[in-house]
């Protein structure tokens, strides 16, 4: 697998920043004939949106509303979340179908408000740090139903203030979110629905299998989750990917409908091999169940000291490999 090589590249300092300055991109092509923005005479889009995890986080500010793609412990942009933990960015409103992204951010005290329908590690039903944070009243919660959340994303992506849904009526979602309103159908049926407000974000973070430098993102697993909607519902969107490829490679890697995220909705692209670790990112890698068990059973300070205290994503990946080798 080229994964380790690429990860080492990051850790040895040959990250995308250095690549830009030395004029060599990840595929080894000379980049000196390419402008970094604008267009060339052939009419091809040439805006190179590649950046590093830390550059993405450098564009985030405390107090922002942040959307995070994936679902539960599946295809989460964990490298970007880890970069966020290395920064001072805090006081976030986080919108996500929650998994360990919520756990990490909650344990580190970065969440002011969480908007979600659940937080789970899938194979481990209850997310331990989400749970601890809720039980200590560490952040505010907007608890929505899974479908309400989805239609909120659609509203956000479609510049609508709300979309009507049947879900929520009669449930305590209405009690714990007193700001929710209902609408009455203007047609003969006259039915009453919940008006789910648009979920809009300052920034969205998603992780995909492949992407090109322009920001086109491709998923190769069975489920797109809602990553395209997150990107479209956000003012800025950042795609991390297992592997950065030439645009011409995308259509060869999967069917047309695997081209989930389109560059018009993407601000930055980061190549982060194994960047969804320890969540699943099939077919590139499955969930690291052993490591997830370790995460769920280790006190936060101890876990953070061992795996999250280094200055780069490469330090994390190396610490995981060292732990993995110890177990053999």
């Amino acid at each position: 697998m080229s994964g380790h090589d690429a990860s080492d590249r990051t850790t040895t300092g040959h990250d995308t920043t250095d690549r830009t300055t030395t004029g060599h991109d990840v595929t080894g092509h000379d980049a000196s004939d390419r402008t970094t923005t604008g267009h060339d005479t052939t009419g091809r889009p040439t805006a190179d949106k590649t950046m590093t995890c830390d550059e993405v986080v450098g564009r985030l500010r405390s107090g922002m509303t942040l959307g995070i793609g994936g679902w539960g412990s599946r295809r989460k942009p964990m490298a970007l979340v880890r970069a966020l933990l290395r920064s001072e960015v805090t006081d976030l409103t986080v919108i996500t179908y929650g998994g360990p992204d919520v756990g990490l951010l909650a344990a580190a005290g970065r969440i002011r408000r969480l908007v979600t329908a659940f937080a789970t590690l899938d194979s481990i039903p209850l997310e331990p740090h989400f749970r601890a944070a809720r039980e200590s009243g560490a952040f505010e919660l907007t608890e929505l139903d899974e479908a309400m959340f989805m239609w909120g994303l659609h509203a956000g992506a479609n510049r609508l203030p709300f979309l009507p849904v049947r879900a929520g009526l009669g449930s305590d979602v209405m009690r714990v979110n007193p700001e929710l309103r209902t609408v009455t159908s203007p047609y003969a049926d006259g039915e009453e629905f919940v008006a789910v407000p648009a979920l809009r974000m300052d920034a969205a973070l998603v992780h995909l299998n492949r992407a090109d430098r322009l920001g086109n993102g491709q998923y190769l697993g069975p489920d797109p989750y809602f990553d395209d909607l997150f990107c479209e519902a956000a003012d800025t969107a950042y795609v991390s990917c297992e592997r950065l490829v030439e645009t011409s490679e995308l259509a060869k890697a999967g069917p047309p409908q695997s081209l989930l995220v389109s560059r018009h909705s993407v601000t930055g692209v980061v190549e982060t091999p194994n960047g969804a670790h320890f969540t699943s990112c099939v077919p590139d890698h499955g969930r690291d169940e052993a490591f997830q068990r370790l995460y769920a059973s280790t006190p936060w300070d101890e876990f953070a000291a061992r795996f999250l205290s280094g200055p780069t994503e490469g330090d994390y990946q190396r610490a995981v490999r060292a732990w993995s080798e110890e177990r053999r």
Partner: protein, 264 residues
């Protein structure tokens, strides 16, 4: 395992769960948890062959569990719920006499004593497609007078929320390790449909935090089909057929995981 081996409590539970999908036709069976999964697969392999099922991820698969016949990622799954062509069997950390269910948290929502999953899709499920429940450990801590956070909507709350809420609302059955229950009463409160063999009425009442209605007590007096075993007062969960038992034991769960979820 010989065919002569006595039917276990877990196997009665599988049968009782399977019965939830009888007559459903061409709808998605969404079982959550091991026993409901065995029940749904059993129903599909026997009396409800038209059911659709997923592989637990995004694929619709055939009865062998591997042949892909369709694609159902979360976005289509959530949209399918509102079309109603689905019958889900969820779990419940708490459930009350009208079928309000809680999987979100225990205690005050503002600062829960125990945070659980969150409401997940329980609100959309209960208002749009039939929702049954599976409760592996029937106790007064689960069968409560009032749930702490209404995730799945019960009959009283659906009615109070108006015609939009009750239009497609239906809770066909609740299956526990002690028996089968439904809401086919005048006030839509929970009643006993059947008890699993070996379970007494006193036992289930003691394990339930609210009064349970009985299935037409007078009608069933002297009913030969329910005599002898169980309470003698209420119907007994039906026996599996020899073919069903073979499927459960040899094909669906040869390693006997069901016996760990519901010990004998």
């Amino acid at each position: 395992m010989s065919a002569a081996t006595a039917v276990t409590r877990a196997e009665y539970c599988v049968i009782a769960c399977a019965e939830a999908w009888r007559g459903d036709g061409e709808v998605l069976a969404s079982p959550m948890g091991l026993i409901p999964s065995l029940g749904a697969r059993l129903a599909r392999r026997t009396f409800s062959p038209d059911l659709l099922m997923t592989d637990g991820e995004a694929m619709l698969v055939g009865p062998d569990g591997t042949t892909v016949e369709g694609w159902l990622p979360y976005r289509r799954h959530l949209a399918m719920v509102t079309g109603g062509r689905r019958h889900v069997m969820m779990g419940a950390s708490q459930i009350d006499r009208y079928g309000n269910q809680n999987i979100s948290c225990i205690g005050d929502w503002q600062r829960p004593a125990r945070q659980l999953l969150g409401v997940r899709g329980a609100p959309v499920n209960t208002l749009n497609n039939p929702v049954s429940y599976w409760i592996p450990r029937h106790s007064p801590r689960v069968f409560v007078e009032r749930v702490d956070m209404v995730s799945g909507v019960g009959y009283d709350r659906a009615a109070a929320a108006g015609p939009s809420a009750s239009r497609f609302h239906r809770i066909p059955r609740v299956v526990s390790n002690l028996g089968v229950f439904d809401f086919a009463t005048a006030d839509r409160s929970m009643r006993i449909v059947s008890l699993h063999p070996g379970v007494t009425l006193a036992q289930v009442r003691e394990a339930t935090g609210f009064p349970l209605a009985l299935t037409g007590v007078g009608d069933h007096a002297g009913d030969g089909g329910s005599s002898g075993r169980g309470s003698g007062e209420v119907p007994v969960t039906r026996e599996p057929t020899a073919a069903e038992l073979r499927l459960i034991r040899e094909e669906l769960d040869p390693r006997g995981a069901r016996e760990r979820e519901v010990p004998a």
